[in-house]
Symmetry: C2
Subunit: 191 residues, 2 copies
């Protein structure tokens, strides 16, 4: 693949990523992506055979970003508890996006649950990455039921985003963020 080709492909994926989050997958048309990138619709088919393939590339890209983020967390601190707290900070760091569109992983998964089974499973990989990473932190602290705790943490985060977005309630995000931090501290108390 040449450099220019990669750039155009990248531009399509990046625009699609944003649009799929803001408007949903089904509600985003090729025209929308074309308008955003300036690349004509017909050109998309040089890189992707179908719209699903664009989504596939978007999911792949999100998974890569997620892996990078998790790796980054591992360099910031060695304390597993601190790592878990960093995870909850996602709520604060993405407050506006969450209020307007919800969680990119959760909303995509919910949307795909209604039509595609294969791509829903693939988008769910992001949840699996988060869960296993969180589980690893609980394990590192020698805490029992680490998988359950990891699932509970993910579920709480999801619940907060869904409600915050439905109510457009910023203060609910902030309060919940603090409560999740307290919850993590209480669960990781070793003594």
């Amino acid at each position: 693949m040449g450099k220019k080709g990669d750039t155009n492909r990248q531009k399509i994926v990046e625009a699609a990523d944003r649009l799929f989050y803001r408007r949903g997958y089904n509600q985003t048309s090729f025209q929308d992506i074309s308008d955003e990138t300036g690349i004509p619709r017909g050109n998309f088919y040089y890189y992707f055979k179908t719209k699903d393939e664009i989504l596939d590339a978007v999911i792949e890209s999100r998974l890569n970003e997620l892996v990078s983020w998790l790796e980054h967390c591992d360099t910031v601190t060695d304390d597993p508890r601190e790592k878990l707290l960093l995870f909850t900070d996602i709520l604060n760091n993405n407050e506006q996006d969450i209020l307007q569109q919800g969680c990119p992983i959760g909303t995509l998964s919910s949307e795909l649950a209604k039509d595609s089974t294969f791509l829903q499973e693939k988008s769910g990989q992001a949840f699996i990455l988060f869960r296993d990473w969180a589980k690893a932190q609980f394990d590192a602290l020698g805490i029992a039921d680490s998988v359950s705790l990891a699932m509970d943490l993910l579920a709480r985060m999801q619940g907060v985003t869904v409600l915050a977005c439905a109510f457009k309630d910023q203060s609910f995000i902030r309060r919940s963020h603090q409560e999740l931090r307290d919850w993590i501290v209480s669960k990781t108390m070793t003594g």
Copy 2:
């Protein structure tokens, strides 16, 4: 309105209700509703001017059902704690639907967050009804921070449905159901 007219209108709303839940609002076509009801597409416009009006009627219908359900709960028991526990039982009573499509309120709200602002707000009325009802139960028990507790309860329920649906994990629903019951009992302990 004549009887026959009401019946057809009702049939449209009921079919749309089911289809909007199973396939999403945007992914459901007039043809789908026509196939399900046997009523020709063109007839829809006798009752509804636009597709949005059908959605509006569906939301209205869901709100009415919800009010009936809340009123029903109030007749089952006088104990506010028991009422809150009945609320969590929704998870058990709708296990299969939740695993496959998630929460009808939550997924619709998330979907509408991406295109309609007005109808999202309207669909959010269901959350408000649940919240205020739950708040009333905490109030009746003389518990402080009743609004926050009600929001937390709703958020937890949502989080469980999103994760359970993403992972297709039945046991997670059941475990979470029990944990939510324990949480309610602990929060409503008076003494």
